[in-house]
């Protein structure tokens, strides 16, 4: 897969610093799992973080802290939770962890017109969801109050700005009012995150919005 739309510097820095909402972290972790280029760029941002930490004024530790740390070394480490679920290129491990299985185990809810979504469990600072858009189907025209990240897992969609295929990440801000359309041929599945509710342009989806939690 050739990825053409990557993570912005601003988001990659935020992910490296660990200061993004959980839902954004998830979308970025999934893109990084698919994209060696962004993974290499993340390495550079981590290195910047390391140099800033290395240049921090040292603050003396308590006198007994080294002894205490040495004493802890014999304690067995807590075993990391095993990754029991299998992943694939279009369903990397971080996503499988949040779904609790593969695509077949997603509990979809219909949004009408064949469009379906499933909210993923993240903290409330932003929300993450899977979107299923039948081939050729439009998603209602909408704007954003905050930032919306949309990562394509399968199929492709187009909107006013460009075409987005597997692995591509669209970063939409308040200025973008768009109407994504899934490409013909294959149903499109996306992982999306928003830090504010979407703003639909016509009345009906606006009424549906609080109900469907988009």
């Amino acid at each position: 897969m050739t990825i053409r739309h990557h993570i912005s510097d601003q988001l990659l820095l935020g992910y490296s610093a660990g200061l993004l909402p959980e839902a954004f972290n998830l979308v970025i972790a999934v893109h990084l799992s698919m994209c060696d280029e962004c993974k290499a760029r993340l390495g550079a941002f981590d290195a910047v973080g390391g140099s800033l930490m290395g240049a921090c004024d040292a603050v003396a530790m308590a006198d007994d802290s080294l002894a205490a740390a040495l004493a802890r070394l014999d304690q067995p480490a807590a075993a990391p939770p095993p990754r029991r679920l299998s992943s694939s290129k279009s369903m990397p491990a971080p996503l499988v962890d949040y779904i609790g299985g593969d695509l077949a185990s997603v509990k979809w809810r219909s949004l009408g017109m064949g469009v379906r979504q499933a909210i993923l469990p993240t903290d409330k600072t932003a929300s993450a969801r899977l979107l299923y858009i039948p081939a050729g189907q439009k998603v209602p025209d909408h704007g954003h109050r905050g930032t919306e990240l949309t990562l394509v897992l399968q199929g492709a969609f187009r909107d006013e700005t460009d075409r987005f295929g597997p692995g591509d990440l669209e970063i939409a801000d308040e200025e973008l009012n768009h109407q994504p359309i899934a490409e013909a041929g294959q149903d499109c599945i996306c992982l999306a995150a928003t830090d504010a509710p979407l703003r639909f342009s016509n009345l009906l989806p606006r009424l549906a919005q609080p109900f469907f939690k988009i």
Binding site: G18, G50, V59
Partner: protein
């Protein structure tokens, strides 16, 4: 030093790493808004994690400082934000090559140059890059606090990153 911890569970090497890094991790966490007590406790945890996870350290992919930064950052997320940050999956990169000492050396030298470039950033750019890594404030909150327009903050951060890239190319 980490290699001695990784390969020989060398406690003297661990003690040397502790003396060098723990006070800097503590400083980093206090700059991020942790109290001295919490920062001390977390710096201890970070060093303990270093010992436990030393087998994962790969000097061809990160230097010691970079790797320790990622552990400290994760501890900060748990302690201060109580949030989750999923890690990307490490997809196979093709046949695993023998660890290459040359790669590790090159990475260490590049990281050294990067640290020098960060230190040489113009004061205003450096300050905003630091805030972007340390403070739990959004750009608009930084704007409110510093009185700088949002656009200025974003463009200074961009300038700083461009400058770092230029130095590294």
């Amino acid at each position: 030093m980490i290699l001695r911890v990784r390969d020989a569970q060398d406690r003297d090497a661990f003690a040397a790493l502790f003396r060098h890094f723990a006070p800097r991790i503590k400083g980093f966490l206090m700059k991020s808004g942790a109290s001295a007590t919490l920062a001390e406790e977390c710096a201890q945890d970070v060093m303990a994690t270093l010992w436990q996870k030393a087998h994962l350290f790969d000097p061809t992919r990160a230097t010691a400082t970079t790797w320790i930064f990622t552990i400290a950052r994760n501890r900060r997320i748990d302690a201060l934000r109580k949030s989750r940050r999923p890690e990307p999956e490490d997809l196979p990169w093709g046949p695993e090559a023998e660890p290459d000492q040359h790669d590790a050396l090159e990475l260490a030298q590049e990281t050294e140059r990067l640290a020098e470039a960060v230190a040489l950033l113009p004061e205003k750019q450096r300050e905003l890059i630091e805030r972007a890594y340390f403070s739990d404030l959004s750009h608009s909150e930084i704007a409110a606090e510093t009185g700088l327009p949002l656009g200025t903050i974003k463009s200074r951060i961009r300038l700083a990153l461009d400058r770092l890239r230029h130095k590294m190319s």
